[in-house]
Symmetry: none
Subunit: 249 residues, 2 copies
DNA sequence: TTATTTATTGCATACAAATGCATTTTTATT
DNA sequence: AATAAAAATGCATTTGTATGCAATAAATAA
């Protein structure tokens, strides 16, 4: 009896009885329990069943929701993005980068805003697809799976053809000298293209990103029209940024 | 009796009665109260119920998430797609359309499969972005927000340049004369392009789609290599489809 | 074909999990 | 505060599991 046959038998039995017991299978198939256990582990790793102590059961119905995106310090981020809502106007063409701050922003966009939004972030697109009045365009390409954004030349090509009124760029790091910097090269390129494509550039980030740097430059501070943080615009921490001429919300 | 079964029993009982009592369960399952308590504590730590003095009660309804995608008759769909898993091979280039059946399929793709998958469905991309070994390419364009898929010329252009080994197409309707048909014109066009781009065409759908029609044609039955339904391949309902030469899984 | 490698299987052994019982601690109720 | 029920804790026993190893079967190369 081939292994594949055995697996088929086990899966059939599992559907019939909702469960299988290691010892029963060993008896029925005339094999050692070891072999059965190895089979069950193999099927488990393929997510075809769930191995449990003594046998296996069908894959659990609940299937943990993949679509839950955890947002750290959501309250703080809400405070930031609420300020940025004042920058929105009807009929704008908007580009949004990824990042959890932008995701929170997307959640809070008023239901009556009519606008066209380009994004390359999967969670942001999911969020905006719930919005009744937004024309949503997803910028396709190869997915960077952990960040759930598309990257690469396809993205650059599309972005560079957009003529947007405003773009909202998340920030990994920002400081006076280098301006915006990113940990990933590819993301930095995409953000450069976003900035070129937009009349107005807004960056939202929490204050712990201030005065930090990453390897890949995105743009000088002077390219930014507006930055939005959790701090009061007059906060001492923002002194140098104020001097650079960027508008602080 | 496996522990998993017991937990299942407890959860069922909990839904029926809104509560469970330690001593009753011990009696009903013929186990010591200690074991029941350990079970209840375990389920509590998994947030599946709330342990209280003397037993356990239901956990308060968890908040509905925007990202929750409701799948009707998920069990039936699982049965369908499980059959289709046998069509997957390492190193295939795959195109997947949208639809909840395909979403269920995406969930069940074994973790060790290495493949490249193109899709234009947001939920499917979210799902596949969790998969460790799949190269995922999202096909961008204007979002059709209710279906959470991209549509339009951008999609067609990308799809028509793909050379795929296999495509998985959801079906709105299928019948002998017209073959696959769709309610939306744009989706029908995209699906046509998918079929052209793929060596092998697979369509998965539940049997209630059989012998129904929609306004926009996608393809004749003969263009399909394989169809997968919840029915047994030899079911009388599939008689005419068998005659058409399409392989039925 | 034969030789070599690789995968599969069963066994022995050490290890971990599950369970019930006795005992102590905690909790709810009067 | 007193009491009875429930829960926690430590322990012994049973049962299931992981691991290395050897024998065998299957696949691949020469």
């Amino acid at each position: 009896m081939l292994k594949a046959e055995r697996h088929q038998y086990i899966m059939t039995k599992l559907v019939e009885d909702q469960k299988v017991v290691t010892t029963d299978l060993a008896l029925a198939l005339d094999l050692s329990e070891d072999t059965i256990r190895r089979d069950l582990n193999e099927l488990d790793s393929k997510k075809l069943l769930e191995k449990v102590y003594g046998g296996a059961v069908q894959v659990s119905e609940k299937s943990a929701n993949i679509f839950d995106v955890y947002i750290s310090q959501e309250e703080q981020k809400k405070q930031i993005v609420r300020k940025a809502l004042s920058l929105l106007r009807d009929d704008q063409v908007i580009i949004m980068s990824g990042g959890s701050t932008n995701l929170v922003f997307a959640k809070l966009i008023p239901a009556d805003l009519k606008a066209t939004i380009y994004t390359y972030s999967l969670p942001i697109a999911m969020q905006l697809s719930q919005h009744p009045n937004i024309d949503l365009i997803f910028i396709g390409g190869k997915m960077q799976k952990n960040a759930m954004v598309t990257i690469g030349m396809d993205v650059i090509q599309v972005v560079s053809k957009i003529k947007a009124d405003i773009c909202f760029i998340g920030a990994s790091s920002i400081n006076i000298k280098q301006g915006l910097t990113e940990i990933g090269y590819e993301i930095s390129i995409v953000k450069k293209a976003m900035i070129e494509a937009s009349d107005k550039v807004v960056s939202m980030f929490s204050s712990d990103k201030l005065d930090t740097k990453m390897p890949h430059g995105v743009c000088e501070l002077t390219k930014l029209n507006t930055i939005v943080t959790d701090l009061d615009p007059n906060d001492a921490q923002l002194e140098e940024y104020r001097k650079s001429g960027v508008f602080i919300l």
